[in-house]
Subunit: 584 residues, 2 copies
Amino acid sequence: MESRIYPEFSVQYPLLLTTIMKRPVGLYPNEIGVVYRNPQTGQYFRFTWQEWYDRTCRLAQALKGPLGVLPGQALEPGDRVATMALNHHRHLELYYAVPCLGAVLHPINVRLSPAHIIHTIKHSEDRIIFVDDLLLPLLERIYEDIKDTVKKFVYISDNPALPQTKIEPLYEYETLLKEQSSEFDWPILSEDNYATLCYTTGTTGLPKGCLFTHRQLYLQTLHLAAVTSIINDPAAKYYGENAVPMIITPMFHIHAWGAPFNYVFAANKIVLPGMFTVEGFCELVQTEKVTNTGVVPTILAMIVEYPELGKYDLSSLKSLGVGGGALPLGLKLKAEEKIPGFTATSGYGMTETAPAAVGAFVKKYMSNWPKEKLDEVRVKTGIPAPGLEVQVVDEQGKPVPHNNTTVGQIIIRGPWIMMQYYKEPEKTAEVWYDGWFHTGDVAKVDQEDYIIIADRMSDMIRSGAEMVPTVLLENLTASAEIVLEATDVGVPDPIWGERPMAIVTLVPGAKETEKDLLKYLEAEGVEKGKITKWMLPDFILITEAIPKTSVGKFVKIAIRKSLDDFLSKAKKTSELNRQVTTGA
Amino acid sequence: MESRIYPEFSVQYPLLLTTIMKRPVGLYPNEIGVVYRNPQTGQYFRFTWQEWYDRTCRLAQALKGPLGVLPGQALEPGDRVATMALNHHRHLELYYAVPCLGAVLHPINVRLSPAHIIHTIKHSEDRIIFVDDLLLPLLERIYEDIKDTVKKFVYISDNPALPQTKIEPLYEYETLLKEQSSEFDWPILSEDNYATLCYTTGTTGLPKGCLFTHRQLYLQTLHLAAVTSIINDPAAKYYGENAVPMIITPMFHIHAWGAPFNYVFAANKIVLPGMFTVEGFCELVQTEKVTNTGVVPTILAMIVEYPELGKYDLSSLKSLGVGGGALPLGLKLKAEEKIPGFTATSGYGMTETAPAAVGAFVKKYMSNWPKEKLDEVRVKTGIPAPGLEVQVVDEQGKPVPHNNTTVGQIIIRGPWIMMQYYKEPEKTAEVWYDGWFHTGDVAKVDQEDYIIIADRMSDMIRSGAEMVPTVLLENLTASAEIVLEATDVGVPDPIWGERPMAIVTLVPGAKETEKDLLKYLEAEGVEKGKITKWMLPDFILITEAIPKTSVGKFVKIAIRKSLDDFLSKAKKTSELNRQVTTGA
């Protein structure tokens, strides 16, 4: 017998999204795997895993055939295929068909400014754009700027008639699929083939492109599943196969926090709401018996304030996690009262980390702690995901002591951290040096080794020789029951260099004033030792809205650009209360 | 700023056992991580993760320094370091220090015959052997044959005085550690560095060597942890961080079913009993509050028959899984009555698969099934572990229909399947061809896609044109309450080619005869449709003991060698019961 070895099927068996894609159809071909509800018409679409897989095969045929998409090689991207799409089954089909074919999926963040969207399309050289009917007007608006870059367009709609539009050539998604066979021979790619290209939100300049390989996304998924089996958080027990997760985080935003990979790997029934509407959310929880989802605080606020909430049966909901921003205490209390399975769990990640990096995992010796104490742990930023190296270091690159005080920069390395910004060696060199990815985020580490985010480096407020721990101040302010949102920025000061200004919105109906808020910060912050007096803001502004990025983060750059305007409306705290000192 | 990329810290961050080793000390430095009880003296040894890690660093220093061990390169093995050791903290230290240094750990299966042990030592070219005090006589016995191969020996004992022996040069483990620093700078290896070398038990010839890389063992661990988070088996919830597992499976036997990697990754408190003794088991469960362990049926029988069992508090035990052989019904009933957390869970693997391959995971739609029905699922061989491709194929390599009837060979490929038998290209070619590893095991697949092992290819009994489903027959026989162990082998037959002979041992005190057993097979097997009449054995022998391998499997080769002897004592079933026919 001729002796041959097969490293590609053993020691070097490639870690591909293809393996994740094929898992549910192999296990549960006839179970409903994907449910989409059109948020405008209320129409439901349900697919068994076999149906969803067949459609994904047809899509791959269409990409390879009529659309002419070409695969890449290891660490050389194939054709970029972009989406301007919400959370539906077709987007989930694209999430697998494109990378498993060897091409690169670029989910366009449609909440960026049109100028930034144009930049990301031209920079990534998207060959095809798949566009939702709802987003066609946006594409039409930027069409002249990108039509020389993009060769083909595909229209996605529950109503298959092609619209009147100047965009061409324009294919129709369902028609393309109908013409293809549902048999597809997926290529055995290198695990170093690039799978996705995601752009940062560009709060400090143009969006930057982060490429991820199959190996990176596979390993992120595996490590997240592994940590779920290990941690003792009671909420974790709802993440098994029988969970019915709803993906609310937009799939165009850093992989929707990993959901499209994690839930297909787990063969969950995946519920997709198109875009978030509060009635759609309630109806889907009731109809599909949704067990868990993750939301940002703004969306949680919309849910708890919804007057019709009591009309729905939300009892299936076992875990509703909150991430992406500080959770105001008033909102937390209201949510716990109104939503059966409410939990707040903090986490930390960024586009460059795909995003899983740090999570507020509960440690083993805490498993008998009362809920109140566990909640305190869950709102810390957290401990590193298994498989990653995460450190908080001083300016010499030395880890800071774990004393809950000394701040430093968070640096990370590990299997799914982005290697470089696409076609941006200078910007790469700003973050990748000395063998570590530098996040630009500032944090301290407590005695139990939990990392607690202090601030973005660029958002730090320097008062004299000291840094104002801005996020601490923001969280303290947000903990007032009357506060809906809170942020702090630095205001130039002739003596101290910079001093903090708090900008705040109140919950609907609240009548409190800047003076009330200052009293709260003194009573809850200074008197209880959470902050020292010099950290109190010099200015407080209660306003109607705070500028935010597409993913709901406060845009401090926008605030700084209009600083005089904000400042002119703000109250000076020294005039609100003569007892307040501002010394450092 | 100079632009540099770091693939080794991002897209190609190596998957190393080093990451697994460092996880518990990073999370829980001051918690007890490893507990060893000397089975002879009853003395306890407890180590915090920091202490265990420091000891492992010292061991690595000793290996690199005085012992002079050299690392290898990707897919080229470093120096082989062998162990002749039981389950204790020092063996667990060797499990990490040797591979994380870049050398290869060869855990010698001390239950092999001396000739086979000599073969594995010479074939792997072991440079050093670490030997337990209890196993020193065995080493002395083979010393003359291996002394030209092995350069150095290290003596492991709780009593540090070096013994009188001809073996030299002989170092002492604890003395070596004391002389070293507990600081060690672990090398960043390639994930394709070989980590372990394990030999098959050699039932059909000389033991064959299976090398595994760091990547392979890391990925096996990750996938096993991931599947635990996904499956809905109630037993799975006990495998979190707070579990206290005892490793009973010998660490010299294919990685003790993955335990030394899985439990360190999960940062469990790991309980090590040296070797299994029933009083040591009971005492450790009571003292350390052990929550789970895995045993073979023989050991389970020793536990349930132990007269002192009732004196111990075993209430912490939440899951006691049984693997490695068919579980007789009588033993199962007794175990359920006597042991609080008893579960029987089947699985399938072999040295070549490291060993995780197939597990009797419960499917999501079964989660509300009654325990009785779930137990039926748990004793099927199972479904593939995530990440592996497993098929049952006919002689043309085509998958057999999932009809619970047609048998074929199990073939496997995936990230942790052995690439080749070490230095045996011909033997490799017998198992690796057409891109698949051929297990040589025969199975059918049921309508729910569960694989059910029928037999080893070489153990198949051919009766006319048909194969007797030997394992089915063995399991049926073992399901009789009076039966302790059962096996079936083929006996030459002038008409049918081969006909089955059943060889059986009874539970202590049972007085039943071959005729009673035949009646049982007819009533429970033929009449209930589990087997057809022609599958009934032509010969039945109730005996005192059945030949077994070092890991408790029946050695059919040994039976066949003494076939006439067995046959002469067996009863011919046609003479026991005239109604039995033997047609095919």
